[in-house]
Symmetry: C2
Subunit: 166 residues, 2 copies
């Protein structure tokens, strides 16, 4: 339990957010996963082989044309369960504070998550995929084809992160 | 020039968008690039070695702590110059219609772009990076560390796309 009245852990820093939004998003579907609490979610998407389902709203069905030819997709979704105003965070499983832009935490100024998934099957507006780690019923924002030529950088490193961990 | 009064090319299909947005975004900085017209932008981010600059608003400076330890970043930005309602598109340089979710076109229901960039240098709130292809002054939405362990899938394929092209 935090002892800070604002729910901050030691070392965490919040900023005052702007009064107004600059742009708006549509939720275009929902993601169905086996996980209904934050604690139940995998720590990252490679920790689970669970097949999850992306349900695209019927209104946008035509936008799926030729998606079935993709082996992998980039899925964007909205993580609206966490506060948005932290710039420095002290994740429980790490021993220090880090900037939001150096973390993949759901606590972000714009809580848009990006996950690379393997496409298993397309049934109408339902996509079966492997590689998600989000809560059941998470709002969908976008689906993009994953191009290895521009999206895959196997040699990339994150210096603060211990080698071999994610 | 299109002959359709709504600016659609043959084969393109638009849908009626919802009356209201479901969530809001903050523009948290700007991206500076050498490209001021759509035609001048590289066709994709690997076509140019230009060093671009990500200017993060001073309000969020602390969120950059330890970003400098990352070799690569995932940059999310807002492509607000294009219509949002197309579900089937007929890109000029391809010979057929495809669904929006099978394309990386800026025309999207939620026009959030994701680019993997190589981090060259951090000077305060300015990041010098290689790998962007957007217009100068594009609004910034988020910066994330790129983890090869979850983000890199070198074997991924896009079936509709000719081998070796991007």
């Amino acid at each position: 339990m935090s002892t800070d009245p604002y729910g901050l852990r030691p070392g965490e820093v919040a900023v005052e957010l702007p009064q107004e939004f600059d742009a708006g998003l549509y939720f275009i579907g929902r993601i169905r996963t086996p996980w209904t609490t934050r604690e139940a979610c995998p720590r990252n998407a490679r920790e689970s082989d669970a097949v999850c389902t992306i349900e695209v709203d019927a209104r946008y069905a035509a936008a799926l044309k030729e998606v079935e030819t993709c082996s992998h997709l980039l899925v964007l979704y909205w993580m609206d369960k966490a506060r948005r105003d932290l710039v420095l965070q002290a994740p429980r499983h790490y021993d220090t504070q880090r900037g939001t832009f150096a973390l993949r935490s759901p606590v972000r100024l714009n809580p848009i998550a990006t996950s690379v998934v393997r496409l298993v099957r397309v049934d109408g507006t339902r996509l079966s995929v492997v590689g998600l780690d989000c809560l059941d019923s998470t709002p969908l924002l976008d689906i993009k084809p994953y191009f290895a030529s521009t999206d895959a950088v196997p040699a990339a490193t994150v210096g603060w992160h211990a080698a071999g961990k994610t």
